[in-house]
């Protein structure tokens, strides 16, 4: 049943071995760095985004063509998101938010192509992205506000004697952000792709059961078609959610008072 194994699509394999760190030279020892299929699709995602943005805005025409219009709409969309969530001061983080949004969006869309690998279905990738956001917030918050950044953990109007309880809760709530951010994206994409694969697997197994099976396999087929549409939606929505939450967390770094 290798064809209908719902987990098989997430396997990472080496395309080209680069070099090995440590180990005693024997096979399987040390840490091997390799160019994997995951890396390939990350490079493809970055290449698609960069090439599209560079080529579509290269003409710089006052009346935009189709490609340039899409690029401008995308810019306006993300710029509005940053301004409404983090204020005009947040616009210095526009490149970060725009890169994150387009990377996740294009990676999710690429993942919907049959036989393609979905980069965001691995939690280490989404966790790295969310740690990037988290560390940006922490470092920028401390650089800009100094110790005042710690006010984030002290909600205004709380009497002093409750603070020993409230401050750790706020701290845990703050620390849980990168986890919830990464798990949400990873979970949505993983669950969606597994569901899709399971339902399409049903079609294969049922249609091997003879005439009635072929008739019955229409049901999972309808389901799979609906799920495909849903997955495109989920991929876009999750990219949007990730970007919006990034803006909101950046807002905390820029204006730390609650």
């Amino acid at each position: 049943m290798a064809g209908t194994d719902p987990i098989h699509q997430f396997v990472i394999y080496d395309i080209a071995k680069l070099f090995t760190l440590g180990g005693d030279g024997t096979e399987g020892s040390g840490v091997t760095f390799a160019f994997t299929n995951s890396a390939l699709f990350m490079v493809a995602t970055v290449a698609i985004v960069s090439l599209y943005m560079i080529l579509s805005t290269g003409a710089k025409s006052v009346v935009p063509g189709r490609a340039q219009l899409v690029a401008e709409l995308l810019y306006g969309f993300v710029a509005n998101m940053v301004r409404s969530a983090a204020g005009t001061a947040g616009m210095k983080f526009f490149p970060l938010v725009f890169s994150l949004f387009t990377f996740i969006f294009v990676a999710n869309m690429l993942g919907m192509v049959p036989y393609f690998f979905t980069v965001t279905s691995h939690i280490i990738v989404t966790f790295a992205l969310s740690m990037l956001v988290f560390l940006t917030v922490v470092i920028y918050g401390f650089v800009k506000n100094g110790p005042k950044f710690l006010k984030l953990f002290i909600p205004s109007g709380v009497p002093g004697y409750i603070l020993p309880i409230v401050a750790p809760i706020e701290f845990i709530s703050f620390m849980s952000r990168p986890i919830s951010l990464s798990v949400r994206l990873f979970g949505n994409i993983l669950a969606g792709h597994i569901t899709l694969k399971v339902f399409t697997g049903f079609i294969v197994t049922m249609s091997s059961l003879g005439f009635l099976g072929i008739l019955g396999s229409a049901l999972p087929l309808i389901m799979a078609i609906a799920l495909t549409g849903l997955e495109f939606l989920v991929g876009a929505v999750q990219a949007y959610v990730f970007a919006v939450l990034t803006c909101m967390y950046l807002n905390d770094a820029i204006h730390p008072s609650h």
Binding site: P168, I172, S173, S176, R177, I179, S180, V234, V237, Q238
Partner: protein, 132 residues
């Protein structure tokens, strides 16, 4: 000397045309805003029911996990097992509830109830009941 008058007349006409155009643009903008609002409200209600559920769930569980990990690290460092884990797990639980209330408050603020919707009984309703 007929020219200035002529010009004035033209200006007058042009001003009227501009005013007309401005009001037309304003009304079109208003319509579009209403349309946009309705579209976004529909979208947030219909399509992301699953997304909302997952969002609340992850916020809740992530806080508990972080609390447990912090407690475990405290235990490892200070050798106070199992008290650090127990206390921080409960703290994480509280933080999870805090996260969830924040997310839900934010969602409520993002999509307020449409005007005219029934938000439970209020004074007017009671008056109606009295009349009936």
């Amino acid at each position: 000397m007929a020219k200035p008058q002529d010009n004035q007349g033209q200006q007058h006409g042009a001003r009227e045309v501009t005013r007309d155009l401005a009001s037309r643009i304003a009304s079109a903008k208003r319509e579009r805003e209403i349309e946009d609002n309705r579209a976004s409200r529909d979208a947030s209600q219909e399509m992301t029911g699953l997304g909302r559920g997952l969002r609340i769930g992850t916020e809740f569980i992530a806080a508990i996990l972080v609390g447990a990990v912090i407690g475990y690290l405290i235990d490892l460092g200070l050798g106070t097992s199992p008290w650090g884990l127990l206390v921080m797990l409960l703290m994480g639980f509280a933080a999870g509830i805090l996260n969830v209330t924040r997310v839900v408050a934010q969602m409520n603020a993002a999509s307020p109830a449409p005007p005219g919707s029934d938000l439970g009984p209020d004074e007017q309703d009671e008056d109606d009941n009295d009349d009936a």
